[in-house]
Subunit: 409 residues, 2 copies
């Protein structure tokens, strides 16, 4: 499995409105604490409509907007996606469901769309009723922004504890025409496999049938967002939305062939980069860690092993301390469902070879220096087969504890 996308990304990404067929708007409704430049309502609009697909949290306590958006995704078409930050609209009962539906209705009215084609998402505090007076007004304003100049930043409206805005974009030639895939995402804590308190919005001007979009997104999410863990915690609201305006490129009508392959590669590159950006911005994180497991009995085993390492609090603390602690790494794999034989395994952390069938001598000072970086590879070769997988995670620091002990209900 490649460690990084093979397709080159556009440096710095693109705003979603940089893709043909999409416009964006945002507003401040007063759901988040007021501070300069803060935004808490976002609108993504496809004036000409779009085919659509999405993946959602598997949490049984999923939020009302997730239930709403699942139905939109099932129909395969969307002309807008609206969201608010500051309130997750989760565990809010029947009123929460009515509020999610109303958010779609308000946007539909403002944009001249059908409510059934409006994705809804929320992120923030769980269990607090939505202040719909504020949401309604903010949503209206954001829609006006989207239909006009769209100056306010959608990427900023979706942020919660994120420290940086995250976007990624990729262009690829298909049948003599250039198609663009661009995405933005938010999320930095409560991040776990199978998508977790994160929202991602990905748009493309390619023309892709809904069921093909669905197949492509599932495949890419499995190799990106589902290989991402900050703290092993799935959330109530996680959603990845994908919309295709169809304004460029030839029609992609089946999940096979060269055109599909190229589109898939671009989508995967964008998803993978967004996932890595989330890990890098993990709550309190000082470094991004690519956990690469090779030589596993199967890909499934490799995934279990990579996940166990990426979720190990002990490994993550050691990485914060710049310690290539192979003992904790092998121990984490040993407790997972993946097959491990310590007399065969090999471990390398940040380029420092620390274990190869047995512990290797290494210079602790040089190792500490090698691990004092913003991004590193943690490579494990199990030497039991051909299975491989990569997980993305970050270190566990005082900052994580601080953020999560002080962020109150």
């Amino acid at each position: 499995m490649p460690k990084s996308p093979t397709l080159p990304l556009i440096p710095g990404g693109l705003p979603l409105s940089g893709v043909l067929g999409f416009k964006c708007g945002a507003a401040y409704a007063g759901l988040k604490r007021p501070r300069p430049g803060v935004l808490d309502i976002g609108v993504l609009w496809a004036p000409g409509g779009a085919t659509a697909a999405a993946v959602f949290t598997k949490n049984q306590a999923c939020a009302a907007p997730v239930d709403w958006s699942r139905k939109v995704a099932a129909r395969g078409r969307a002309s807008a996606a609206v969201m608010n930050s500051g309130n997750a609209n989760a565990c809010t009962g029947p009123q929460g469901e009515r509020d999610a539906a109303e958010m779609a209705a308000v946007a539909a009215r403002a944009l001249g769309a059908r409510a059934a084609e409006v994705f809804v998402a929320s992120t923030g505090v769980i269990g607090k009723p939505m202040d719909m007076g504020k949401v309604r007004a903010g949503l209206w304003e954001a829609c006006i922004d989207a239909t006009g100049a769209g100056k306010a930043k959608f990427e900023r409206a979706i942020m919660t504890t994120d420290l940086v805005q995250k976007r990624a974009a990729c262009r690829v030639r298909i049948g003599g025409r250039t198609i663009t895939v661009a995405g933005v995402t938010k999320g930095s804590g409560m991040i776990a496999p199978n998508v977790a308190t994160m929202l991602a919005y990905i748009v493309t001007d390619a023309a892709v049938e809904p069921k093909v979009l669905r197949t492509a997104l599932a495949w890419c999410a499995d190799r990106s967002f589902n290989c991402l863990t900050v703290d092993g915690q799935g959330s109530t609201n996680d959603s990845v939305f994908l919309m295709a305006s169809g304004l460029s490129g030839p029609k992609i009508t089946r999940p096979a062939g060269s055109a599909y392959g190229k589109f898939l590669a671009a989508l995967e590159a964008v998803c993978r980069d967004l996932a890595r950006q989330i890990a890098r911005d993990g709550e309190g994180a000082t470094k991004l860690v690519n956990v690469n497991v090779a030589g596993a009995k199967s890909d499934a085993d490799a995934r279990e092993a990579a996940k166990a390492v990426a979720e190990s609090m002990l490994v993550k603390c050691a990485l914060f301390g710049c310690d290539p602690n192979w003992g904790r790494i092998l121990s984490a794999i040993g407790m997972s469902r993946a097959k491990l034989d310590p007399t065969k395994a090999k471990v390398e952390v940040g380029g420092v070879k620390v274990y190869d069938r047995k512990p290797l001598a290494f210079n602790p000072k040089a190792a500490k220096k090698a691990l004092s970086v913003k991004e590193l590879d943690l490579n494990v070769d199990l030497r039991l087969g051909a299975g491989s997988a990569t997980f993305y995670t970050c270190d566990l620091t005082y900052g994580y504890v601080k953020i999560n002990a002080e962020y109150h209900t």
Copy 2:
């Protein structure tokens, strides 16, 4: 399931040598950093022999002494248990196996026992060859201590990052005679279900057949050590040893009947209290948390739910911040294999009712005060069935990160 043992414990516990048929010794061999009063070799001796049982880590990267002791346990008899701290003798290859065997041989020679009846355990750094010169000398000294006055503290020899010594004891009348069960344990980090970097030694003067001991220990471990999680990390060395000298009480030959029931209750009380002491002394912990789940579809479901809550970094950070964050609690259960219906569930943290089919209003200041305690109950009623389970955990603090970022390979 009862939240606390029904049998009263002896306040402060007993030293293992306080039980008929057992003597203890300890020594400082120089495996741990020298400081006043430090010990790193321990010997528990049953001069007249004992029946024995044990449970061990399920980690595939288990340490050499675990392999050795598994064989001893399978034979059902032990006359000594020796251990060292400061070095785990894990991932040390064939030399590690020879070293574990030699530890048994040295103790057997010094105590006039058979090596095949000597349990061996190690705890400390993984992957470092044992300094057998030091171990041999220290072991000899500890055996001499055990055969003599046994003044040095076995409980202190087994400690690593523990801040306090942990012991528990219980007495019960069986057939007109009093039997005693006493245990000591170590462990404060890398603690997870299915036993994790912890060692526990439990002795009794009851006369119990090996296969009955095994059944009893498995039952009790499942309700104590296997319901304990500090950081979800299983270790390479975890072991719980149980030895019965048979010097008091009637013979217990089958796992049924009133005598067995009383013995089991005493053993369970000791195991449960030791497990709770470990959680209370969790690395960096400021509080012990009893996660009680009731109303689950089954006991297995209750266990999954309690484990998910007890292992949630987000819940544990919230408890450190004295925040009864039911959103994180329900979200953790929602991501587990346990069935959850948020419209039925009830959550109470530290006596503060925070959720009952829907969020409840509560005074944050009063809640913060209620949670600012050394021990609290986190009660969840899923209202889906009759399944229940209790897990023991602690909060996640700056201290945990500090210990585990600074403790180096």
